[in-house]
């Protein structure tokens, strides 16, 4: 675990220079397509590793590699990943009612035919994906049956889903974005629509970090909820937050070179996280730990506000007219 934390090769991205040109085609070519390709490749590796061995310890590095790759694209809530709940089937979190664990228990104790590839795709999205694999590879209590077949089925399904998304992007959806505004493109009527969509993903990603990744464990002052943090069992809570922020930073950078305050706010927030030394946000239960975590959360709020004020105008867009209104 510690080794994993220290390796942190992704931090290198922080110091990469800005691309010479930046607009939505760069986001597609340099952020989205490589992100989904990496997710599909690491998921395929994980599935292959699971075929060789069901040993949890042996599979953990491949699990982390796939999860790291997922955080490169997890903030993208449009296009192929939105079809048929595919995104949910990659990671079902938060899951306050524990529906994933319940569905997995049924799968472990039930008819093995449900684990056949052709049937597994129809199982509950809550049972599948990275959260499902985490429960099997880092069990917090003894599992009711041998998980080997379920590990293999889940990893295989993850590889299938991520390959489907990657293929859809390569074969059609990248072009749908890149031809925005062309005659015949009825998904994106103007290029500005694409910029607005991508900008919205950055803002929503920051809100998810603030409200869910940090907000859930923080709970309230009187009732901190450290047990609600993401990926506690695999020790990834803070890593997930850091990696998602780095991905959002990378995305913003491919969109425009004209958002220096936003970049600085990203770096400030990432700097705060780097000092947290609380891999699963367990310290939110202490006053001191809570204060430190709240400071990180505030740095993300400030980052979001900066991005709204600077990144949006730099792209010539804002949050949707109706989406921002509420009713």
């Amino acid at each position: 675990m510690l080794k994993y934390l220290l390796a942190a090769p992704y931090l290198a991205a922080l110091f990469m220079t800005a691309p010479a040109r930046a607009d939505f085609p760069e986001t597609v070519q340099q952020h989205i397509l490589p992100g989904y390709a990496k997710l599909a490749a690491t998921s395929a590796d994980l599935a292959a590793a699971a075929q060789k061995s069901c040993d949890a310890t042996a599979l953990q590095p491949a699990f982390h590699a796939a999860f790291d790759a997922w955080l490169g694209v997890q903030h993208l809530h449009f296009g192929p990943v939105e079809a048929d709940g595919l995104g949910l089937s990659i990671q079902f979190w938060p899951d306050p009612k524990g529906s994933g664990a319940k569905a997995q228990r049924s799968l472990l104790l039930g008819d093995p035919a449900a684990l056949l590839p052709e049937n597994f795709a129809d199982q509950s999205v809550a049972a599948r994906g990275l959260a499902g694999l985490e429960r099997l590879l880092y069990p917090t209590k003894s599992l009711p049956a041998d998980p080997c077949a379920l590990i293999r089925a889940t990893a295989h399904d993850l590889a299938r889903v991520t390959d489907m998304i990657n293929t859809a992007w390569i074969e059609t959806y990248a072009n749908t974005l890149l031809t925005a505004g062309d005659a015949g493109n009825t998904v994106f009527l103007t290029q500005s629509e694409v910029r607005q969509l991508l900008f919205t993903q950055v803002i929503a990603g920051l809100e998810f970090a603030q409200d869910q990744r940090l907000g859930r464990p923080l709970g309230s002052f009187d009732a901190p909820r450290p047990e609600r943090a993401e990926s506690i069992a695999s020790g990834r809570s803070l890593i997930n937050l850091q990696q998602s922020l780095l991905s959002l930073r990378d995305m913003a950078q491919t969109l425009t070179p004209d958002a220096p305050k936003t970049m600085a706010a990203f770096d400030r927030a990432l700097g705060m996280m780097g000092k947290l030394q609380d891999p699963t946000f367990a310290n939110v239960a202490t006053i001191q730990g809570r204060l430190k975590t709240e400071i990180v959360q505030q740095s993300i709020t400030a980052l979001r506000d900066t991005a709204l004020a600077e990144l949006g105008p730099a792209l010539g867009v804002s949050i949707g007219f109706n989406a921002a209104d509420g009713d």
């Binding site: 449009f78 048929d84 899951d95 999205v125 969509l197 919205t200 007219f321 009713d327």
Partner: protein, 355 residues
């Protein structure tokens, strides 16, 4: 209380032959929007083509259309202190409606079937207790008010027989800044009023769904379809659609599990096409329109950024978005009908009075 000036204006207007919807091109829909820095109300054809447009004094929320005369009432955004009665032929403001002291308009209104009355959803500014303002429409003078049967009424729709169904959203808001004040204890309900304002029926949601604010309505045979906005934990999968046939309990219609969060817990507008066996819900927050059959079974979800207005017309369900596009909505997908530089606002109002 009508001012002398408004009264005289009303008398003058009453002396002119009232233009009908045919005089303004027989629009199928009304839609408010933003054009440049100004706000406008458009009449749209069944295929989404603008037939007329009128400047609005401020951002509108929804409009109510007179059943025969080319008169639209545009309501300000919540909490609103004005509504304007617009002559859709001349574009002139015929009347400005102001709620009584201590009351605020809450977004929606509905005409009686014969057009002689206008009912407006209102709240007491302090406490958000619901009221339905009743206005006669010859001079647009307030003639009375009814209890809405709950807190924070939003949409209201006329049912056959002159009954009125009201979505009491349950949310108490700050009179100045829309801050929600009672989310832990909110209790939305659906209330059915008689033509004279007595409560005929009322239903609430199950306790675990009390934070699902019932906000918008669409009339369907035997009752209404209603759309909800979740104020609880975003991680809880909750339905956005319900059906209520007065006399029976409301029935909730959850999305498929794969679409449990596709609307982000939020439905902003709702429409029913009984002929097309289709109910459409929009979520601008999610950029999604979710479709169900009229039995409440989910059939499809389509994605489009900032899609919000949806209404039923002769050509089926039509939706509008904040980028200026008008779409035909079918189970197979969205197809583009028209595109302008007007950012279409929250609601699309159908002028199809046949249903």
């Amino acid at each position: 209380m009508a001012t002398r000036r408004a009264f005289l204006a009303g008398m003058a207007a009453a002396c002119l032959p009232a233009p009908t919807w045919a005089d303004v091109g027989s629009p199928a829909f009304l839609a408010a929007g933003k054009h440049g820095n100004g706000f406008v109300l458009h009449g749209l054809s069944a295929l989404g083509v603008s037939l007329f447009n009128i400047d609005l004094p401020a951002r509108g929320h929804a409009a109510a259309a007179h059943p025969t005369q080319a008169i639209a009432v545009a309501f300000a955004r919540r909490p609103g202190t004005f509504a304007v009665v617009l002559d859709c032929l001349t574009g002139r403001v015929r009347h400005q409606l102001t709620p009584p002291l201590g009351r605020q308009f809450n977004g929606h209104g509905a005409f009686s079937a014969d057009g002689s009355l206008l009912m407006t959803s209102e709240v007491e500014a302090v406490g958000s207790a619901g009221r339905i303002g009743v206005w006669e429409t010859a001079t647009f003078t307030r003639i009375g008010e009814w209890d809405s049967g709950g807190i924070g009424p939003h949409d209201l729709k006329r049912l056959p027989g002159g009954r009125l169904v009201i979505a009491n959203g349950g949310i108490q808001t700050d009179p100045f800044d829309r801050t929600k004040l009672n989310l832990p204890d909110m209790r939305p309900n659906l209330t059915l009023l008689s033509p004279s304002g007595e409560i005929l029926d009322q239903v609430e949601l199950a306790p675990e769904l009390r934070q699902n604010s019932i906000r918008h309505l669409a009339v369907m045979p035997g009752g209404v379809a209603f759309a909800m906005q979740w104020e609880g934990d975003a991680a809880d999968p909750v339905p956005q659609l319900g059906l209520w046939m007065p006399g029976a309990a409301p029935r909730l219609c959850p999305p498929a599990q794969s679409g449990a969060f596709a609307m982000r817990g939020y439905a902003g507008s709702i429409a029913v096409s009984s002929a097309g066996n289709l109910i459409g819900l929009t979520s601008a927050k999610a950029g999604a329109v979710m479709l169900f059959d009229t039995a409440g079974t989910p059939t499809a979800t389509h994605h489009r950024a900032d899609i919000s207005g949806i209404a039923n017309g002769a050509a089926g369900l039509i939706a509008t978005d904040g980028q200026g596009a008008v779409w035909r909505v079918e189970t197979d997908g969205l197809s583009l009908l028209s595109q302008t530089d007007v950012a279409w606002d929250n609601h699309l109002i159908s002028l199809d009075f046949a249903g």
